[in-house]
Each structure stands twice: as structure tokens, then as C-alpha cells.
């Protein structure tokens, strides 16, 4: 299958960028005969998207967004300081440019002039400050709080300059500002109104029924001239996978996300639609609690890492729509991806060897799984147990209910299924889920060298040195980390042939990095 190319061919992101065609072949699965060349984008039409999520609790408060529906809805209404382009690079949005002090602790951002909110006013430094401050402070309930916590001070210097001081250097700070929780909203008395839909993005909200639908129309004063090609949007919540696929097949919607992988080959046969599959940073994993036995012994962790057939999981669980993971959370399309790491392959003898090193002849462990952890987690668990048996590792698969999975099982049981949508930079991913003391360090992993390197890499502005630092970190996490990462799952979408997409579809999030509403058009 073509999309294994990135993972196995060991292409670097740089290599991919050099040849856009290679990326398209690797990142997209297009039916044979599909014209690859796209005409110039044209304006018009209403794009209708069916989402796998959408709930009555969906709202305009940027601190709580966590499903595809609200994430795309947010990108449709809002602009952010920065944007991660489809090729993974960072481009300015509300921030026209930025500059760091040599130690990367102070950042000066220049705010683009002439951006208007749907309600009228222009975007100024005050709006930016209010939008960021909303997530800071002890009373904040925002999910983005850990991202903005390092900000010590944020001030303006005139209407178009914002100066941010961090408690330590962070070369990736502009990347962090692209986080979907951090839209620029109009300031009202020093803060933003989390119940208002007002933003400076491409579309304004006409109607929003949480859990059902949202309708938007194009913001006439939108500043980007080469983006946002639709006259309007209709976002629909269709959680049932069969209903969602029916909606696409019967022409009720133009785009759906999260195709059911068990039937995707049947969908692909339909001539009026095409399947888009993009391999990004989204990965499925099994974090172990490394504070207690048996997982506090790295030999046990290594034994478990060699006791599963990763390729088989990609083939059977993802139906080929993904790539093999190497216990390294950094995706193959990322800038500092280490493509030369030794692979933790399926090898029962090696697993037995590591068990012996740990002073064990066999191992009995329980693995907690639920479909809430990731789709296919229960089957993955059974497959894992089946393969591990050959290495005298007896895995008992404990099925947990989806309800309350994230509170009662994840990070509470010693070994459980989990997933990450992925983060755009190494530092972001590592400091979210692998750094010592991070609230979501799901394996409770403490590695001194790793944590030192993390701080070093964060404040380093020299790209070559950063590359070395992140290479070593990926080596450490792959060989000593507490998380088994068997696979990177592609984002698989169904698109009507009436919809045209750019040659490169963003891989950082689902639906072209949540930006399909702005980047796609009707052919």
C-alpha cells in the first residue's frame, strides 16, 4: 500500500518537501484515474461536512474544545496567531511576523493590520492579549492552560506589537500559538466573551444548534484573498458511522471524517466519492505505569516492545491505513523525525532475552482496553496477547467500559490503551506526555537525561543542535520510554468528487489540519 512509503522508506520531512509529488503519493490514496492536477480554486457553494462528533455540550468557550466538530467549527470562525501549513511548516496568521530574544524567552509578535472581526472592529494587540490571558491564571479551566502557563508577562507595545515573556526559553513558542484552543477573539473589558461566536476567521455563524448542526456564511471582510472559497458551510453532527457514510453516499453531505476502516474498501469502489488518507502524528499507544513493578524495569518494557507484531496491527486493526510506530511519538512527517532509529521489531526470542535480563522466565500482566482509548483497542489488545504468548508473556486483556475511561482507567490502571492526536513539534509532544511532572505524563516516566535534553532543546534556536538533541531524545524514548506505540493511524476521510483539495493535505489534524473549510473548494 502506497501510504506505507513514509514509514518504511524512511523519508525525512525535508526530503518530502523537496518533491511535492512524492508526498502526495505517500500521503494520499487516490483512486486510479483520478486527475491529480487541480484547477485554480473557485469561489462558491456551500460545503456540507458530516462529523463523527458533536454534542449538546459544544459551545463557544475555547477552553473546552476537544472534538472534531468544534475544532473545525472554531477554525471556520476564528484566526489564530499562527497556522501550521499543510506541509507542516509554520506560517503567520494574525501574527504577521515574530522575533525571539537570543535565549528564546522574550518573543515580539507583530500583529497583521487590517484584519476585521465579524462584528466590525479591527484586530489589535489588546484583543490578542485578552485572548491569551483568558487561558491563564489560577481560575482558568482551559485545556490550554499548560500551554500558556510558562507565560510570565504579556504586554503590548502600540496597537500592533505584542511582547511575551516566558519563564524559560522556548524556540517553539510560535508553534504553540497555533493551538486550536487559542483563537483571537475581540477583547471586552480586558477579557474575551466565551459565549460569543465573534471572531476574525473566514466564516461567521448564522445558526448553531449544539449537537445537531452549525451554519455559517462567508465573512465579507476576510483578509485572505486566496482562501475560504465557499460561500457558506453546513457542519452536521453524525456520530453513527453508518449514518455518516450513508449521508455521503446519498449526497446529503460532501465530506465526512473518520471512515469506518472495516468498510472503507467498499466505499472506495463508489465512483462518485474518493477516500483521502493522510498519515500524520495521530498515534495509538499502550502507556505503562513505570513507577511500579513490573514496568519499572526497562527490561520488562523492552520485552513487551518486542512482543507485538506492529505491521500485523497496522494491517488488521487499521486495514493498512496507517504506519508502524516505533515507540516514538514523533510522526514521520515532522521536522526533527529520527528516521534511522533501530526498529523494535516483533521478536519473541529477544523478548524472552529481556525477560531473562529482568530475572523472569515468564510475565503475567493485565492490559486495560476500551474503544474510548482508541478505535480498535480491544482487538489490538487481543492481537497483542496472542503474539506475546510466544515469548512467555501472558497478557490478560481487561475490557473496560467507555464511560469514564479517561478518569477511571487511563493513568489509573498500570497498563492501558490511549491515543494522541499528536503535536506539531517534538518539544510540544514530549513536554505534554513524556516530561517529568507533566500532568499527562501517562507512563509516569522519569528519565534524567531526557528531561535535561528537553530543556536544552526547548531554548535552542540553532536548528542543527536542536536536530541532534531531538534525535537523542527519540532514541531514549524508543528504547527506554514507558509507552508502547504500535502504530500511527491515518486520518481517513470520504470526499465527494465535487470537492477539490490541494495537492498536499495537512497531516497535523483531521480534515486538513481542521482547515478544510478554508483550503478546499468545489471543482
Amino acid at each position: 500500500m502506497t501510504n506505507h512509503l513514509i514509514g518504511q522508506g524512511g523519508m525525512t520531512r525535508r526530503g518530502i518537501l523537496k518533491s511535492g509529488a512524492a508526498f502526495t503519493a505517500a500521503g494520499l490514496i487516490l483512486p486510479a484515474g483520478m486527475a491529480m492536477a487541480q484547477a485554480e480554486p473557485v469561489r462558491g457553494g456551500t460545503l456540507r461536512i458530516g462529523f463523527n462528533s458533536g454534542s449538546t455540550v459544544d459551545n463557544y468557550d475555547p477552553g473546552v474544545w476537544d472534538t472534531n466538530f468544534v475544532q473545525v467549527f472554531a477554525q471556520a470562525r476564528h484566526n489564530y496567531l499562527t497556522e501550521i501549513a499543510a506541509d507542516g511548516s509554520l506560517v503567520g496568521e494574525v501574527a504577521e511576523s515574530w522575533e525571539a530574544s537570543p535565549d528564546a524567552t522574550t518573543w515580539t509578535l507583530t500583529i497583521r493590520q487590517g484584519i476585521t472581526f465579524h462584528s466590525g472592529g479591527t484586530v489589535t494587540a489588546d484583543d490578542v492579549i485578552a485572548s491569551i490571558n483568558y487561558h491563564r491564571g489560577p481560575d482558568s479551566t482551559s485545556a490550554a492552560k499548560p500551554i500558556v502557563d510558562p507565560i510570565v508577562e504579556i504586554t503590548s507595545d502600540g496597537p500592533n506589537t505584542v511582547i511575551v515573556t516566558l519563564n524559560g526559553g522556548n524556540a517553539d513558542f510560535p508553534f504553540l500559538m497555533s493551538d486550536y484552543h487559542l483563537p483571537i477573539m475581540p477583547a471586552r473589558e480586558g477579557t474575551i466573551d466565551p459565549t460569543s461566536s465573534d471572531g476574525c476567521g473566514p466564516y461567521q455563524v448564522d445558526d448553531f444548534e449544539p449537537g445537531i448542526s452549525a451554519t455559517l456564511s462567508r465573512h465579507s471582510g476576510y483578509w485572505k484573498t486566496d482562501r475560504a472559497h465557499f460561500d457558506g458551510l453546513l457542519l452536521l453532527a453524525i456520530p453513527d458511522p453508518v449514518a455518516r457514510q450513508n449521508a455521503l453516499l446519498t449526497g446529503e453531505v460532501d465530506v465526512i471524517n473518520q471512515l469506518d476502516l472495516t468498510t472503507v474498501s467498499l466505499m472506495d469502489r463508489n465512483p462518485s466519492i474518493r477516500v483521502i488518507s493522510v498519515t500524520g502524528n495521530q498515534h495509538f499507544c499502550f502507556p505503562m505505569d513505570t513507577r511500579a513493578g513490573p514496568f519499572n524495569d526497562n527490561n520488562v518494557r523492552l520485552a513487551l516492545k518486542h512482543a507485538l507484531d506492529r505491521q500485523e496491527m497496522v494491517d488488521k486493526i487499521l486495514d493498512g491505513y496507517g504506519t508502524v510506530g516505533n515507540d516514538n511519538p514523533i510522526g514521520p512527517t515532522q521536522k526533527y523525525y529520527a528516521d534511522d532509529l533501530p526498529v523494535n521489531s516483533y521478536d519473541p526470542d529477544k523478548a524472552k532475552f529481556y525477560l531473562n535480563e529482568a530475572g523472569l522466565t515468564s510475565l503475567d500482566v493485565s492490559l486495560w482496553v476500551a474503544e474510548a482509548g482508541f478505535t480498535g483497542a480491544t482487538d489490538s489488545g487481543s492481537l497483542y496477547a496472542e503474539r506475546a504468548a510466544a515469548a512467555d508473556i501472558n497478557i490478560t486483556v481487561e475490557r473496560a467500559p467507555n464511560d469514564g475511561y479517561w478518569s477511571n482507567v487511563w493513568m489509573a490502571k498500570p497498563w492501558a490503551a490511549s491515543y494522541w492526536g499528536g503535536r506539531a513539534t517534538c518539544d510540544w509532544m514530549f513536554s505534554t506526555a513524556y516530561a517529568s511532572g507533566a500532568p499527562w505524563n501517562e507512563s509516569y516516566w522519569e528519565n534524567e537525561r531526557f528531561n535535561t535534553l528537553l530543556l536544552q532543546g526547548r531554548s535552542e534556536l540553532d536548528e542543527a543542535i536542536r536536530g541532534e538533541v531531538y534525535h537523542e531524545m527519540q532514541t531514549i524514548v524508543s528504547k527506554e520510554g514507558g509507552t508502547v506505540i504500535p502504530m500511527f493511524a491515518s486520518f481517513v476521510m470520504g470526499v465527494s468528487n465535487a470537492v477539490a483539495t490541494p495537492d498536499v493535505v495537512g497531516a497535523n489534524w483531521d480534515l486538513d489540519g481542521f482547515r478544510c473549510v478554508e483550503r478546499w473548494w468545489f471543482a
Partner: protein, 317 residues
């Protein structure tokens, strides 16, 4: 007539008591579920700090009895309160959904009730004929399939060919005609699912009566079979038929969750699933009470109607 009024008021009081007990049970059940609203709202991204802050904001730190009492006193004053998860008044949240659910229920009932009564009467009339056997077999086949399967088959036949839409999208501006057109497939699915029950009850009740002496008398007088059934048998068979129709109506209001999901129909069932998974207790309570009230009221209606249609009960000595 006073008998009837006494019965109605008695039953209504009992109904209120039932609703109270149900609200306690539902509240207790949702308390038993793992996780709480704050946890569900923040999901995987929760940290202890943000959780504590959100719990404080939502008033989740109060003990369960206190929260129940606050809710109950609100309901006593006719205020179902705010949905904690969506920060919208529950009356607003539930209102349109209830309208949609009732619309679908009555639409399906308008198709199913006349259809199944007619089938039932005809089947009784032509007992053991090909028609009787065929309609029985078909109705039983339809009820034996799970609802979602019936729905998918209908989508395959009637929707993928472009005759009817596979999903229902109702807005404020949707006209009645469009509504009826879009909701046809879900209504048809429900019709297929409930027909067998009503039809077979009708058939059985009438056949039961056809053996009684007064029917024989009517036949001996030389009446046509149709007249015998409609004039003499049906009025006496009304009581069981009314009961089974009421039961099915209640089912159409409360039990259509699966059909709502398949056709993406924005009804109460979907809202309730959503509220349960969000631990939005106030919304769960409100919907549970609506469902329970539907059962109580429809059962009451069935009893009143069967009393009225039965002179023996109306004029009890």
C-alpha cells in the same frame, strides 16, 4: 361520570408519585456512573487543577442529597433549571427536541394505527386465508428484525436510489410538506416495527369475539360478514385494542433512540444519550420525567377510553 373523574384524579396523583420515585431512581443511577460532569467536559485533557476549578464553578462539590433537593425544589416551582453542561435553560434545550420527537411519533402513529387496525380487522374477517397468513408473516418478519436493520434496508432500497433522504434535517424554516417528506423513512421504519403488535392484537380480540353466541345470532339474522365484524365485534374488542395502541404510542415516543441515530433525527432520545454521556443530570432527569409522563398519561388515556367504551364498566352497580 363522576366515577371517571374520580379515577382520573386518583390516577394522576399516583402518576405524580410515580414520577417522583422515578426521579429518585434516575438521580441515584446517574450518581453511580463513573466520572462526573467536570470530568466528562474536560475529557482526556483534564488536569487536577482545572478539574477542581470547574467543579467549583458547576457546584459539583455539594453532596448528592443537597443537589437532588435543589433540583426538586426548582421543579416544584416549574423551573427545570439550567443544563450545567450547555448553560442553556432546559426548557429551551428540550423544547424543540420534544417537538421533533412528538412529530415523528404522531407521524408514525398516523401511518401505523389505521394500517394495522385495518390489517387486523381484515385478517380476522378472512381468517386462515392467504391474506391472513401473508399479512401475519410479513408483520412478524418486520417486528423480528432489529430496528436499525429495517432502517438500513429502507435506506438501501429507498434512499440510495434517491427517492427519499437518508437523514432528516429539520430547521425552523422547514415547511410541513418537507418535514413529512424527510421524516418518511424513519416513520416507515417505526410503522414496520410496531404494526405486528397492534395488528395481531386486533385480530385476536375480534376472532375471540366471533365465537360468542351474540355474533352467531347476528350471522343467523343474515348480516354480511363485514357488518358483523364492524358493528358487533369491533366495539366490544375496543378495550384490548386501545390498550395495545396506547402502549405502542408510548413506545413511539420513548423507544425510538436507535431510529433517531440511524436517520440523524434530532429528537429527545439522542439528547438523552448525549446528556447521560456528559453526566448532565438535570437534562437526564427532565427527559426521564417526560418519558415517564408519556407512559403514565397514555396508560391513563387508554384506561379512560376503555372504560367509556365499555358500558359494564361505565355503569357499575
Amino acid at each position: 361520570m363522576t366515577e371517571i373523574w374520580r379515577m382520573i384524579s386518583q390516577r394522576l396523583l399516583l402518576g405524580v408519585l410515580t414520577l417522583f420515585i422515578i426521579s429518585v431512581v434516575i438521580f441515584g443511577a446517574t450518581e453511580l456512573l463513573p466520572g462526573d460532569l467536570a470530568r466528562e467536559l474536560l475529557g482526556q485533557s483534564a488536569t487536577p487543577e482545572t478539574l477542581a476549578a470547574l467543579r467549583e464553578q458547576l457546584g459539583l462539590n455539594e453532596s448528592a442529597p443537597v443537589r437532588y433537593w435543589n433540583w426538586l425544589t426548582g421543579v416544584m416551582q416549574g423551573d427545570f433549571g439550567m443544563s450545567m453542561a450547555t448553560k442553556m435553560p432546559i426548557s429551551e434545550l428540550v423544547g424543540t427536541r420534544l417537538g421533533n420527537t412528538l412529530f415523528l411519533a404522531f407521524y408514525a402513529a398516523a401511518l401505523a394505527v389505521p394500517f394495522s387496525l385495518l390489517l387486523g380487522v381484515l385478517a380476522a374477517l378472512w381468517r386462515n386465508s392467504i391474506f391472513d397468513r401473508a399479512s401475519n408473516a410479513l408483520a412478524l418478519t418486520a417486528i423480528s428484525f432489529p430496528e436499525f436493520f429495517v432502517a438500513y434496508i429502507l435506506i438501501l432500497w429507498l434512499s440510495q436510489s434517491g427517492l427519499f433522504p437518508s437523514m432528516v434535517r429539520i430547521t425552523d424554516t422547514t415547511s410541513m410538506g418537507e418535514r413529512l417528506y424527510m421524516a418518511f423513512l424513519p416513520a416507515l421504519t417505526l410503522t414496520l416495527v410496531v404494526t405486528a403488535h397492534m395488528m395481531r392484537m386486533t385480530r385476536a380480540a375480534i376472532i375471540n369475539l366471533l365465537a360468542s353466541p351474540y355474533i352467531e345470532m347476528a350471522r343467523l339474522k343474515g348480516m354480511s360478514p363485514m357488518r358483523v365484524v364492524l358493528r358487533h365485534a369491533v366495539p366490544n374488542a375496543l378495550s384490548p385494542i386501545i390498550n395495545v395502541v396506547a402502549l405502542n404510542l408510548a413506545y413511539l415516543i420513548t423507544g425510538v433512540v436507535v431510529v433517531e441515530v440511524v436517520f440523524v433525527y434530532p429528537g429527545l432520545g439522542q439528547l438523552m444519550i448525549d446528556a447521560v454521556s456528559n453526566r448532565d443530570i438535570a437534562v437526564v432527569q427532565a427527559i426521564a420525567l417526560i418519558f415517564a409522563a408519556a407512559y403514565v398519561l397514555l396508560n391513563l388515556l387508554a384506561d379512560v377510553l376503555s372504560t367509556i367504551t365499555n358500558p359494564r364498566l361505565m355503569h357499575r352497580k
